[in-house]
């Protein structure tokens, strides 16, 4: 038997959680709308399930507790920045406690379609103190891997327009600087977010994946990296070591099937 390195929280975490019991893997895919995030996650889920790994998807604004109220509040754009951040944090915490942690306890692979990094960068570009928001998310589990799909803002616009023929109000940062030039606003906002991600990368050590390539090439890339985690490589979020390095470190056991225990 290999000795598994227990998971950790970023800060104080959730009271009463025994980290040693969390046997599954938490894999996060981050990226803007149009970065190909959802496509990649769908493909990963198929791949993992075909190979017999129980997999569960989580994402933002999907909690039973507040998702509907949060959506409604956003429609009217009536909340202040901090209130919105906290509303999202509530949504996140509800899913963390009721979905992510139980799934990890049962040995599932949790595929997170965005995680706290998006939430933090959105808050920070809107003027919330970085220290404060990081502290709020001290409740979050440190993932086993975070992949950030970096796509140039121009490419993002193209993809979004091709898919929806319209740019999303929030992803264009229209709440920050109302303007008649939504195109320009989108580009500017995405640049700011990317800058934030870049500086977070140093802090959290996640992997940037070139999202300007074809879906197939990106998927290949992700699978290779996830394969290492499943084989028992150390989490890539831990440091800036490259894959060959981390593969040699403390082995992590592959997730055990849910045993009801």
């Amino acid at each position: 038997m290999t000795i598994e390195k227990p998971k950790q929280f970023y800060g104080k975490g959730i009271p009463g959680v025994h980290l040693g019991q969390l046997k599954g893997e938490l894999i996060v895919v981050e990226g803007a709308d149009g970065s190909g995030r959802s496509t990649q996650i769908d493909l990963l889920k198929n791949w993992l399930e075909r190979r017999g790994y129980p997999t569960v998807n989580v994402g933002l604004k999907r909690s039973m507790l507040v998702s509907r109220e949060l959506e409604k509040a956003m429609q009217g754009n009536i909340l202040g920045t901090r209130t919105l951040s906290l509303f999202y944090a509530t949504d996140f915490a509800d899913q963390l406690e009721n979905l992510i942690i139980p799934a990890l306890r049962s040995g599932f692979i949790v595929l997170a379609d965005r995680y706290i990094y998006t939430l933090m960068s959105r808050a920070i570009v809107r003027g919330v103190e970085p220290d404060w928001i990081r502290d709020v998310y001290g409740i979050a589990l440190i993932p086993d891997a975070v992949f950030y799909l970096a796509v140039s803002p121009k490419m993002l616009v193209e993809r979004n327009l091709r898919k929806h023929s319209v740019l999303d109000y929030w992803e264009s940062g229209m709440d920050m600087h109302p303007t008649s030039n939504m195109y320009g606003s989108f580009i500017e906002y995405q640049r700011q977010i990317q800058k934030e991600f870049k500086s977070m990368q140093k802090l959290y050590g996640f992997e940037t994946v070139d999202g300007n390539r074809s879906p197939r090439a990106i998927q290949q890339d992700l699978r290779t990296k996830i394969e290492l985690i499943l084989k028992g490589a150390a989490p890539s979020t831990e440091g800036k070591t490259d894959e060959s390095d981390s593969a040699q470190r403390t082995a992590r056991s592959a997730p055990a099937p849910a045993d009801g225990g």
């Binding site: 959730i14 509530t90 502290d135």
Partner: protein, 233 residues
């Protein structure tokens, strides 16, 4: 984004204490007095943001809340009132009266098992009140007042989520007792002005008004020009 207190003209007055301590009655009387005397006054209550409260109610009703989400959803509610009302009104030079403030969260969330430092950071954006009245009441009195004329106590009010006891009344007693301990720990940390909540209501009110008059330069908070004719008030 956090405000420096110097820029703020208004005054923030908070009341804290157990359910049944009589603080709501006292803050109501304080509000009436200030209104009728022609001061700019605004009153805000814990857990009352129109947008957030619906979610909180659902969470409580279906028992979806954990100590962490309980804490976060109340902080969201507070942030909404803070960003849209408390802070703008303080900037506008109002006397803002808060029936429960961040200390309620500090006390309750700590009893529910949240980390004390984390909770304090969570609310670190909120300015400290100029005056915080703490209505100190023996647990027994508070319980009698709450249970008198009520057929049942609410699930979360009684701390039933904590699993202290299957009997709501027993659970209520234990839970409120722990909250009271948390309050008492904060009296010195946050300069609470302790009010003896066993005294007759009018005596308490007279004392509070007197303290307010000493600590706050009230004439600064008068409306400019009559809001409504004085003789009608």
């Amino acid at each position: 984004m956090a405000e420096s207190k110097k820029e703020i003209q208004g005054k923030l007055v908070a009341v804290e204490g157990l359910d049944g301590s009589g603080k709501s009655t006292q803050v109501y009387l304080l509000k009436r007095w200030l209104e009728l005397e022609g001061y700019k006054v605004f009153f805000t209550e814990w857990n009352s943001s129109a947008i957030v409260r619906k979610a909180t109610r659902k969470g409580k009703k279906r028992q979806l809340l954990t100590s962490t989400t309980f804490s976060l959803i109340h902080c969201t509610d507070f942030a909404d009132r803070y960003e849209r009302q408390i802070l703008p009104l303080l900037h506008a030079g109002y006397i803002v009266l808060a029936d429960r403030y961040i200390f309620t969260a500090f006390a309750r969330d700590a009893v529910r098992g949240c980390d004390r430092t984390w909770i304090r950071h969570l609310y670190s954006y909120a300015i400290q009140p100029d005056l915080t009245f703490y209505f100190d009441v023996p647990l027994k009195t508070a319980l009698e007042r709450i249970l008198d004329g009520r057929t049942r106590v609410k699930y979360h009010e009684a701390g039933m989520d904590m699993g202290y006891s299957k009997d709501p009344y027993e659970s209520f007693r234990i839970f409120q007792g722990k909250i009271n301990q948390e309050y008492r720990r904060m009296v010195r940390e946050y300069d609470f002005i302790t009010v003896d909540a066993t005294e007759p209501p009018d005596v308490q009110q007279a004392k509070i008004r007197e303290i307010l008059e000493t600590k706050v330069d009230l004439p600064l908070y008068k409306w400019h020009g009559p809001l409504f004719p004085r003789n009608l008030a």
